[in-house]
């Protein structure tokens, strides 16, 4: 078929040919670029009644492409519904064959999706069931991962040491630059906020206490957890999701390696080992960041700032932060791996899994932090 640059539209002329026949004349160049002539003229003539046969005259048809095929397929459909015969002899042989091909495979019974909208009650019900199902899956996953930890403790878990070391490096050393940047900035911001308020009372020295306690108890572990959720949790989900798409997880299972031990365990272990270290690192850098602002803005000497900070931080508050970071590490690893293993097998499903892993872990981190706050308050820590 000649692909022309011409943009003209194909022409249709409909003339009754007597004896219940309708003659459809197609002429000009029919190109998709020029749009598809509408079915209305032909449909109108047929709806007028008395038409039993549709014939075609294509002597003036210069060129055609899918535009003609599409219209003729519509005509054929329309005529079939109204018991009008379509005589295709007048069409070019290529068009006739394409039309025959389009009708060669009949629509499969019940294949078409019915687009009925569910009622609100049904949607609430389905939503509830889905929620129940996904919570069950999450609980099951949690249980299985705990069993895997149990097997690890008894030295029976099967995983590659090398994989563990690779994960360890990627969640530890490779995360340092971003943790450095964020922690120093958070420390500086805390110091700024404190400086403005405390200098009103001439209590600038307490900026050191503010920064030290906030970093050590809350900000250090929370900020590292949120960084790691975005950086590593999503990475875990995308990696495991892709492994599911490429059937690598199936291959592991058939070799007798439980994915829970082979894939999830090293990630969980690595993250819960590295999180406290990153948290300590973040605490120190946050305090240094606060110090930069205090010394620069508030006429404190570095020694004053250091001594005040040292006095403010107790071993209890220091260890609560570190303890929380271990829990956050486990939560991030579990939600990342869970979403990855739940992922569907298409590229968009992997994207959804990564998104959902970050959302789940951040929600879990904040909720867990709230529970810790209440707990520590009750226990008077």
């Amino acid at each position: 078929m000649a692909a022309g640059e011409q943009q003209e539209r194909g022409e249709i002329a409909v003339t009754p040919a007597g004896d219940g026949a309708l003659l459809v004349r197609l002429s000009g160049g029919w190109h998709l670029a020029g749009g598809i002539p509408s079915l209305d003229r032909i449909a109108g003539a047929i709806a007028g009644g008395g038409v039993r046969v549709v014939r075609f005259d294509t002597r003036d048809l210069e060129a055609w492409d899918s535009a003609a095929v599409t219209l003729l397929a519509e005509v054929a459909d329309y005529c079939r519904q109204r018991n009008v015969t379509v005589e295709r002899d007048g069409l070019p042989p290529g068009l006739q064959r394409l039309l025959a091909l389009a009708e060669a495979v009949p629509e499969k019974e019940g294949a078409r999706k019915s687009a009925t909208r569910a009622g609100w009650l049904e949607r609430i019900g389905t939503g509830g069931l889905e929620w129940w199902e996904s919570s069950r899956e999450a609980l099951e996953f949690l249980g299985e991962s705990m069993l895997a930890v149990g097997r690890l403790a008894r030295g029976k878990a099967r995983y590659r040491r090398f994989d563990f070391l690779v994960v360890l490096q990627s969640v530890g050393a490779e995360a340092l630059p971003i943790v450095t940047l964020i922690s120093i900035l958070v420390g500086m911001i805390l110091a700024f906020v404190g400086a403005v308020q405390l200098s009103r009372f001439g209590a600038q020295i307490y900026v050191a206490d503010l920064v030290a306690i906030a970093m050590v108890r809350e900000m250090g572990c929370i900020m590292t957890a949120i960084i790691m959720a975005g950086r590593t949790g999503s990475g875990f989900a995308a990696q495991l999701g892709t492994m599911k798409v490429t059937q690598e997880i199936d291959a592991l299972t058939t070799f007798g390696f439980p994915p829970m031990e082979f894939l999830v365990l090293p990630r969980m272990l690595a993250l819960s080992l590295m999180m406290p270290l990153l948290c300590v690192y973040s605490d120190v850098l946050g305090i240094i960041g606060g110090g930069l602002v205090s010394v620069g803005m508030l006429d404190l000497t570095p020694v004053q700032y250091f001594n005040e900070s040292k006095a403010a931080v107790t071993l209890t508050s220091y260890s609560t932060g570190i303890g929380k970071s271990v829990v956050f590490g486990v939560l991030i690893a579990i939600s990342g791996c869970l979403r990855g293993m739940q992922s569907g097998s298409s590229s968009s499903a992997v994207g959804d899994a990564a998104t959902s892993a970050v959302v789940t872990s951040i929600v879990l981190i904040v909720v867990a932090d709230g529970i810790f706050a209440v707990l520590f308050n009750v226990l008077g820590i």
């Binding site: 692909a3 670029a33 519509e74 091909l101 495979v105 294949a111 078409r112």
Partner: protein, 260 residues
């Protein structure tokens, strides 16, 4: 539209990754309206050649011409225009997983034609009917089987009525019957659309059934030679590598006689 006009011409094409030469000095011409088979063993560079011909990889040397337009030397806009006359069916279908089948086919139509959304859907339905997927327009690629994904990929490749249709391993992963139906579909489309069809494959039954001409990539000499219709090659070919390939390794003269 005579059979003699070249549709695609490849001149002195050398494909290389860094210093590793995959194939060197390929020369062949594909006549308009023919079915051209690019064959060779696994890893001989068939798919790499296809990628070079559609501009996904850059040749180390040589050029690819569509009609009289030099594709390799063209600037990006001209390339895009040439590619609009080309459709590609990828090995796994390569359907966009976030779109339904109708949306997959409608995507290029919406971009390169001025059709209304209803018209685009109509065209998409016809294309799906052509590949035997009537009624599946609102399915997502992940909801249909691998063979159906391939056929939907073909429907998408045909969306803009291309003059040149590429097929990358059309029968890989299909059962013999589906693969034969796909071969027939390819021939039918070539006949009714008048398109040039270029098939990359190593499936012998399909090579013999559909090829009008072929190119054999020889991994030993790292070059390829064009031949005539594959079904005649069993009698006429003298190249031992090619004979081995065509007879599935039984390349002694007796085996050739038995096949002939």
């Amino acid at each position: 539209m005579t059979a003699a006009t070249p549709s695609v011409t490849v001149r002195d094409l050398t494909m290389a990754f860094g210093s590793f030469v995959v194939m060197h000095d390929l020369n062949f011409t594909i006549p308009r309206g023919s079915v051209f088979v690019i064959m060779g063993g696994s890893g001989s560079g068939k798919t790499t050649l296809l990628r070079h011909m559609i501009g996904l990889n850059e040749p180390a040397k040589g050029e690819v011409l569509y009609g009289t337009d030099n594709f390799t030397r063209a600037d990006p806009e001209t390339r895009q225009q040439i590619l609009r006359r080309v459709g590609v069916m990828y090995q796994g279908g390569a359907l966009f997983s976030s779109m339904t089948l109708a949306e997959n086919i409608g995507l290029p139509l919406g971009e390169y034609t001025r059709l209304t959304p209803e018209e685009i859907r109509q065209v998409a339905l016809v294309k799906l009917a052509l590949v035997g997927l009537k009624g599946f327009e609102d399915y997502f690629p992940s909801e249909i089987s691998g063979g159906m994904q391939k056929r939907a990929g073909l429907a998408r490749a045909m969306a803009l009525d291309p003059e040149v249709l590429y097929f990358d391993e059309p029968s890989a992963g299909l059962d013999p019957i589906s693969s034969r139906l796909l071969d027939e579909l390819i021939l039918e489309l070539r006949d009714s659309l008048g398109a040039t069809v270029i098939v990359v494959t190593h499936e012998l039954p399909s090579i013999f059934a559909i090829g009008d001409a072929c190119l054999f990539l020889d991994p030993e000499t790292r070059t390829g030679r064009p031949y005539g219709a594959p079904r005649d090659l069993l009698k006429t070919a003298t190249d031992p590598q090619l004979l081995r390939f065509l007879t599935r390794g039984e390349s002694s003269k007796e085996a050739v006689k038995n096949h002939g």
